[in-house]
């Protein structure tokens, strides 16, 4: 039995190495996941508001970066980050499939994903994007 210990430990260490074995860029933000969240959560709500949809191309990259850095939603009424938080996703998951799908994604990752999509999709971004 004793001889199994190092085997098991080594195997566990190997498993722990999974996050480090993936490509460096895989650890970067997932802009495609950000796109889905942006379109199916952010846009889904915004299009029902008086201001309507906000396309990524409505702002420049610098404007998006500043917007995310400030982190204010509705002119400071709410924290912008609240809308990617797990508690927010929990609150809407019954009526929003994207929130339900990404319910277990760490908030930090999703926050980066959405930023990546918006900044890439900015009017001067690498891949200007609309809401649809």
């Amino acid at each position: 039995m004793k001889s199994r210990t190092p085997l098991m430990t080594g195997a566990l260490l190997g498993l722990l190495a999974v996050p480090f074995a993936v490509p460096v860029h895989a650890a970067d933000a997932d802009w495609k996941r950000g796109r889905v969240y942006y379109r199916f959560v952010c846009t889904d709500c915004h299009k029902q508001q008086p201001g309507g949809e906000i396309s990524p191309t409505s702002r420049t990259m610098a404007e998006w970066k500043a917007y995310f850095a400030a982190g204010k939603h509705e002119k400071g009424k709410n924290s912008l980050r609240h809308f990617v938080s797990k508690s927010y996703r929990e609150s809407i998951k019954g009526k929003n499939q994207a929130a339900a799908k990404f319910i277990d994604v760490p908030e930090e990752e999703l926050w980066k994903d959405v930023q990546a999509f918006a900044i890439r999709g900015a009017k001067d971004g690498d891949a200007p994007a609309k809401c649809n």
């Binding site: 080594g10 190997g14 190495a17 074995a21 460096v24 860029h25 895989a26 199916f40 890439r120 891949a127």
Partner: protein, 527 residues
């Protein structure tokens, strides 16, 4: 002895740790990509051109260029097994461009290669294969407008406002193809988003289930290659080799028996419905006919008409006219003519048996009636056809009055022959036909054309498939499709009346008989 044993034991333990660790890493690798391209030294350099990247790709992917060069994506040419004609983008006519030969730098931005700007392009040069356009995962890669397939790169003389592509970053992040990469060209066919096909536009990059059940970003999230199964860079399911009717049931993945894996039946089989009556419909109807009730359903309009003869107008200041509609779509462009668009468009329906006749610039036409640029063959009684949904693109475009052939023209660029510069059709056509190597009499007119595009994407949820009355009602979608009797739609007034009279009389007889029996019974009881 004891020490040696301990020593052996320690060595063995270390070996076990290493082996187990290695096994764990292998296990980890199985879940992750096996190659992190950002770690490759060859890709950690500044690339000045696309071919420079390809040269590095081919150091490892040695056969890839040969495979791509054997594909339609490279040759833009396809020998039609039915007619023997040479088809493909190099040869067929469309309503959306007046031939690629004299418009190469613009049209060939969608060629899977670098540098096809004229007939001198070297189709044998492997470094001309563009790996990145299909394998980019960053979304930042793009080919420049009018750059013959080259991406804009820092150091090139680029038009103002053109953002250069960081080729090293793209190359270090290559991966599998996706809807984004395929869509770079296929969503923008005809010169803009959703313009050409009607069932392919950028709404499919991250669609919801309503737009397409298979590509639903929150559901199945299929990549294009899920259906367009690709082997050795040969992509299955070309519109030049369609399967109109697939009676062979589900296709086991990996089984190579020459079947087209991109049919509905290849996954769903031939009896996918709970009701056998619906399965029997598939004998006459393509699945798409019921399951794609409308096309251009993703919020992006598709072009439905294009009148080239209307081009050339100027405003009161002598400037080329450009007009947009309320949605911001260009409905008139002096360089191109007048357009109309549609969203949620009900398809046209024809019999189709898998054979398509394409018109080429060498074929004679009859200008007295609309000229079909392609014709989907089929009939109700050939045993091979089913009724398919189509987008029909209607256009007005130039033809040769003497030779009675369709004409190609030089419509892009800003040189002296370009139609867009001086609005001189004669010069633009002469150049277009010269570049195509075809004769031009010098006399031209404009003729109405029609071009059909099969609708096969944007599959709606089953709840939104066509209801029975869409066909079996007075306003049937299949009205006008020859050779088929649609109960509920087709009928004879006198026969229907006779039927109702017979039914009424039968009911009356049953009631009378019942009443007689009841009367007789009561009479018998009294006695």
């Amino acid at each position: 002895m004891t020490r040696r044993t301990e020593s052996r034991s320690g060595t063995g333990r270390l070996a076990a740790w290493l082996l187990a660790g290695a096994a764990g890493l292998l296990h980890a690798a199985a879940f992750a990509s096996t190659a992190d391209h950002s770690q490759f030294k060859q890709l950690q350099q500044t690339f000045g051109s696309g071919p420079a990247v390809t040269t590095v790709c081919l150091e490892c992917h040695a056969r890839a260029a040969d495979e791509v060069m054997a594909s339609k994506h490279w040759t833009w040419s396809f020998p039609d097994p039915h007619s023997g004609k040479q088809l493909g983008k190099q040869n067929v006519l469309t309503s959306f461009s007046l031939g690629i030969q004299s418009n190469n730098p613009t049209c060939n931005a969608c060629h899977i290669g670098y540098g096809w700007k004229d007939n001198s392009f070297d189709f044998t040069a492997k470094e001309n294969v563009d790996c990145l356009v299909c394998h980019d995962t960053t979304g930042a890669y793009r080919k420049g407008t009018g750059m013959a397939g080259h991406p804009p790169v820092a150091g090139m003389a680029l038009p103002e406002g053109t953002k250069p592509v960081d080729l090293a970053d793209v190359a270090q992040n290559v991966g599998k193809t996706s809807r984004d990469t395929c869509g770079t060209c296929h969503f923008h066919g005809g010169g803009g988003d959703g313009v050409k096909h009607g069932d392919l536009d950028t709404s499919l990059t991250a669609p919801d289930k309503e737009v397409d059940v298979h590509m639903d970003a929150l559901g199945l999230d299929f990549a294009c290659t899920e259906c367009h199964k690709t082997t050795d860079h040969q992509v299955a399911g070309s519109r030049y080799a369609l399967t109109a009717k697939d009676p062979h049931g589900a296709l086991m993945r990996g089984k190579d028996d020459g079947r087209n894996p991109a049919t509905c039946q290849a996954c769903h089989g031939n009896t996918p419905h709970k009701a056998a009556r619906l399965d029997r419909h598939a004998d006459k109807l393509a699945c798409q006919t019921c399951h794609i009730p409308e096309y251009a359903r993703g919020g992006i309009a598709t072009k439905l008409t294009w009148d080239w003869s209307a081009a050339g107008r100027r405003d009161s200041h002598g400037q080329p006219l450009l007009t947009r509609d309320d949605h911001g779509r260009i409905v008139y462009d002096a360089k191109k003519g007048a357009f109309s668009y549609g969203e949620d468009v009900v398809p046209d329906y024809f019999w189709f048996n898998g054979k398509v006749e394409h018109l080429t610039v060498s074929d004679r036409i009859d200008p007295a009636k609309p000229v079909p640029l392609n014709r989907f063959e089929g009939s109700a009684d050939d045993g091979e056809s089913r009724i398919w949904p189509f987008k029909v693109m209607r256009a007005v475009q130039p033809y040769d009055r003497v030779h009675l052939t369709m004409l190609k023209a030089h419509t892009t660029g800003n040189d002296e022959d370009s139609y867009g510069r001086d609005f001189d059709w004669h010069r633009a056509i002469a150049r277009g036909m010269k570049d195509a190597g075809k004769p031009f009499s010098g006399e031209f007119g404009f003729v109405e054309t029609e071009m059909s595009w099969p609708i096969t994407h944007m599959v709606a949820p089953k709840e939104q498939a066509l209801s029975c009355v869409a066909c079996h009602g007075a306003q049937s979608r299949l009205a006008g499709v020859p050779g088929i009797h649609v109960p509920g739609h087709h009928g004879h007034g006198w026969l229907d009346k006779l039927g109702w009279w017979l039914a009424g009389l039968t009911l009356l007889g049953v009631v009378a008989h019942g009443a007689g029996r009841a009367f007789a019974h009561r009479k018998g009881v009294r006695k």
